[in-house]
């Protein structure tokens, strides 16, 4: 009784969809995308070079930002044309109306290398994409720590070092913003709300395919002289830099577009595609976190794109918005950047908290404590995050009289953050706790974030900020909140949902080894950095005081061990999925959430045979007489499975 809803919506497409053509290598895929990208780059670079021949600034510097931009912009267009992503918009221009069913039933592994409209395929693409980006940026972090083994001896040339720092920061910040929304928001949330599809599958697919090209462009900066401005790209330093800075602008900008697409889709999906009975008061907290995240992205990211765009103009068209010598101001960049930049860190935190609040009740066998408070916490974080950006600029000399106000708003944000602790602690109270790998990671988030949150009080307090601003203290603080928060939650979520996504069970033993090594070495890496910062070491330096050498070496060695722990994860994860492949039991964690009640693992095309009717709240773990979560729950299959963890 699977219906063909695409006819009804009128937005579906057959001929416009990728994969509609013939087979073989010319069928749109990542290969044709790369071919398109190469052709586009050659064309764009040639055009850019040819019309800037006589530009004085180009001749003097021997570097041509316009050709760089033209090359990359054409490359992006070529990439999407090659992927087949442009077919549909072009066909729409000629009024070709979609008639047939969307091709989400494609089988085989090759679909993961195509522009596809199936939200589950996109989720898996995102998962592996994010892991690649995370590991690349993680290796760059190890390169930084290698340099800091010695206060005076230099492994890298200082220019290479500062470029590595910038690449690490930018890649982590821009890519990891989608680390939960991309894989789990796209894959799991539609299942959780009982939908057969997402609202805008093309936007969703587009959002993923922005990321590989953005990753490539950003990384390509390293072999073009890099950018020395760090991920914050403060002007006028970023105006002064060579062509490497253009890769920062384009890479970051593309990732911004990706986030806008992804959040538009997730917001529209959660609002409109909830199954009958999935009222707002029954929406899983993960849904609330994604909704808050989506709205925050929609309202903050255009400002980032504005900032990057203005910087690009200053670098190519020689406007002077960011250069005070010609009527601009470097404060403009700081404002535009941090107006995005502070919501950005909550874009990282909110989904992490969403995962925590979602997964803990499953392993506590208790209803989530203070459900409404958790939703209020996400919304509060989202709203307050727009009113704190100047706390990055306490020492900048900009609007100094506003500092008490921004100190207040910044400290107010610990109230919604506190809600998340209240929810977690209340849920654990009188619970029946199973310390499985996902649960350990979620508890790890609480452990780590506590340090991040407490040191947040130091950095938000203006008098203390005088000492800690721009030091390793701040750096340790945000690694505790971001890596200790969202990245731990991300790994926990991987262990939690891999059985659903792949149909294979991951080893609890290996998972626990990963967890314990990761949390120990994570803390051993970042806890000493608070001391390093307080003792006077600024961020992004390659020389430091001799008295800090022991601490820095301790940190570097811990960082290698942390890297080893993550490598252990990468190897065991891929090995278990590709080689050993132990099939999972049904609903291995005993969750009540809707995604586990699909027909098979991985879920079939269109998720559900028929739209489920939601009968109860997904967190009714405490009430043995509660109705099952939806009418698709199969008594024999689901309610008494054997062999669960």
């Amino acid at each position: 009784m699977a219906i063909d809803y695409s006819k009804a919506t009128g937005t579906g497409s057959s001929s416009g969809a990728p994969g509609g053509g013939g087979g073989g290598l010319l069928r749109p895929s990542i290969i044709t995308g790369i071919i398109g990208g190469v052709i586009g780059w050659l064309l764009g670079h040639w055009i850019g070079n040819s019309f800037t021949q006589g530009y004085q600034q180009v001749q003097g510097s021997g570097s041509n930002d316009i050709a760089e931009f033209m090359g990359y912009i054409f490359m992006i267009i070529g990439w999407f044309a090659g992927l087949g992503a442009l077919n549909y918009p072009i066909q729409k221009l000629f009024g070709v109306e979609a008639e047939a069913e969307e091709p989400v039933t494609e089988k085989g592994w090759t679909k993961y290398f195509r522009y596809t409209l199936d939200h589950k395929t996109v989720g898996v693409q995102y998962l592996f994409g994010m892991l690649v980006y995370f590991f690349t940026a993680g290796l760059l972090a190890l390169a930084i720590r290698t340099e800091l083994l010695s206060p005076t001896y230099h492994i890298w040339s200082p220019d290479t070092y500062i470029e590595i720092v910038g690449e690490h920061g930018t890649m982590m910040m821009m890519m990891m913003t989608s680390v939960v929304l991309g894989p789990f928001g796209n894959y799991v949330v539609p299942l959780m709300i009982g939908s057969k599809r997402v609202a805008f599958p093309r936007l969703e697919a587009l959002s993923f395919w922005f990321t590989p090209i953005s990753y490539f462009i950003l990384l390509s900066g390293l072999w073009q002289g890099g950018f020395q401005s760090g991920w914050t790209g403060y002007a006028p330093l970023s105006v002064q830099q060579g062509v490497g800075q253009d890769t920062y602008i384009l890479g970051f900008g593309l990732q911004g577009l990706s986030m806008v697409c992804a959040s538009t889709n997730i917001v529209a999906t959660i609002i409109n595609y909830r199954a009958p009975g999935m009222s707002w008061s029954r929406l899983p907290v993960m849904g609330w976190s994604m909704l808050s995240l989506g709205f925050t992205m929609i309202l903050s990211i255009p400002v980032l794109i504005d900032g990057l765009y203005v910087l690009a103009l200053d670098r190519t068209a020689q406007t002077s918005l960011l250069y005070s010598g010609h009527g601009g101001s470097s404060f403009l960049w700081e404002n535009l950047f941090w107006f995005f930049g502070h919501p950005e860190v909550y874009l990282l935190a909110i989904p992490g908290f969403g995962l925590v609040a979602e997964i803990i009740p499953v392993f506590a066998r208790k209803p989530i404590f203070a459900y409404k408070t958790s939703a209020a916490g996400f919304i509060g974080l989202a709203i307050l995050s727009f009113f704190v950006w100047q706390h990055h600029l306490f020492q900048s000399g900009m609007n100094p009289d506003m500092r008490p106000l921004f100190m207040l708003t910044t400290e107010l944000i610990s109230i919604p953050t506190g809600f998340i602790y209240l929810v977690g602690m209340g849920t654990l109270w009188r619970a029946r706790i199973r310390l499985t790998t996902p649960m350990l990671f979620m508890l790890g988030v609480y452990f780590n974030f506590l340090f991040g949150g407490l040191t947040g009080v130091y950095v938000s307090d203006v008098p203390i900020n005088v000492t800690v601003h721009g030091s390793f203290f701040v750096m340790a603080h945000f690694h505790y909140t971001i890596m200790g928060g969202v990245i731990f939650a991300f790994f926990g979520a991987i262990y939690y949902w891999t059985p659903l996504v792949t149909g294979y069970q991951l080893s609890e033993k290996l998972g626990k080894i990963h967890f314990w090594t990761m949390i120990i070495f994570f803390n051993s890496t970042f806890l000493p950095l608070f001391a390093v910062g307080l003792l006077g070491m600024p961020r992004r330096v390659f020389e430091y005081a001799h008295r800090l050498q022991f601490l820095n070496q301790w940190v570097s060695i811990s960082a290698y061990l942390l890297g080893a722990s993550l490598l252990f994860f990468a190897v065991t994860f891929v090995w278990q999925l590709a080689v050993t492949r132990k099939p999972t039991v049904r609903n291995p964690w005993g969750s009540r959430s809707l995604e586990w009640y699909v027909e098979s693992y991985p879920p079939p095309a269109y998720n559900f045979k028929r739209v489920p009717v939601v009968l109860s709240w997904p967190y009714e773990y405490g009430d043995p007489n509660a109705l099952p979560v939806a009418d698709i729950v199969n008594e024999t299959k689901d309610l008494d499975p054997v062999g669960r963890a």
Partner: protein
């Protein structure tokens, strides 16, 4: 696909990833300009460093950038800014300055500092400071913050017929000769840079060659 084949794929995949990382690190990131040692002189305890500053280095990935060349033991001009010096000894610098000049962004760098006697010799004439607003201005400067050294190199006339357009420049081309002596202290890496905004086409003249080691900034590597 059999289990063995899948295992082989995984192993090969990780091997490729590892190879890519090693290639990236060794092939790109570890790249540094070469180190040139100071040359012994006829006076015991004194070593010589001979450098030239070119308005355009003429070679490498950025031929139009300004840059330093240092003479090695066999008399070749090597484009680099990393110079190895012995500790606790006198170093006699001879700099052939082939570039035209401009002003400093901050004229405080007109002052000669940190050299033996607080002086530098421009074409044989001693001076304690050089005014960047007169004549051909200052072409480049040699500034070692940790040793307190600052020596401006006066510029040459950029419109002269024998102006050197691309390095390595030769003695027959228009140049200024600047000499000065410094005393090295304890072993260590002492970074140095130029303070003239000579990164042409970059904002404030401080991009490009100014931000790339091997052109307008580098290290004095003082070894025991």
């Amino acid at each position: 696909m059999s289990k063995g084949a899948r295992a082989a794929f995984v192993v090969v995949g990780f091997a490729i990833a590892l190879a890519l990382v090693v290639y990236g690190v060794v092939g790109w990131l570890l790249h540094k300009p070469p180190t040139i040692s100071a040359q012994p002189s006829s006076t015991p305890g004194v070593v010589n460093v001979t450098m030239q500053v070119d308005g355009a280095v003429g070679t490498g990935p950025h031929p139009s950038w300004v840059g330093y060349r240092v003479q090695n033991a066999s008399g070749q001009w090597i484009q680099t800014t990393i110079i190895q010096l012995p500790a606790h000894s006198d170093v006699h610098f001879t700099v052939y300055q082939y570039d035209s000049g401009s002003g400093f962004r901050n004229p405080v760098w007109d002052q000669v500092a940190g050299t033996v006697g607080g002086v530098a010799y421009l074409n044989g004439k001693s001076a304690t400071y050089f005014n960047d607003q007169v004549g051909n201005g200052i072409g480049h400067s040699f500034n070692v913050p940790a040793l307190g050294i600052n020596v401006p190199f006066a510029g040459v006339n950029g419109n002269a017929s024998n102006f050197c357009n691309a390095g390595p420049c030769t003695m027959s081309q228009l140049h200024n000769t600047i000499t000065f002596d410094i005393k090295t202290g304890n072993p260590g890496m002492y970074r140095w840079q130029c303070f003239v905004p000579c990164g042409l086409g970059f904002l404030n003249g401080n991009g490009g060659p100014m931000t790339t080691v091997g052109y307008m900034g580098g290290f004095l590597k003082v070894v025991a």
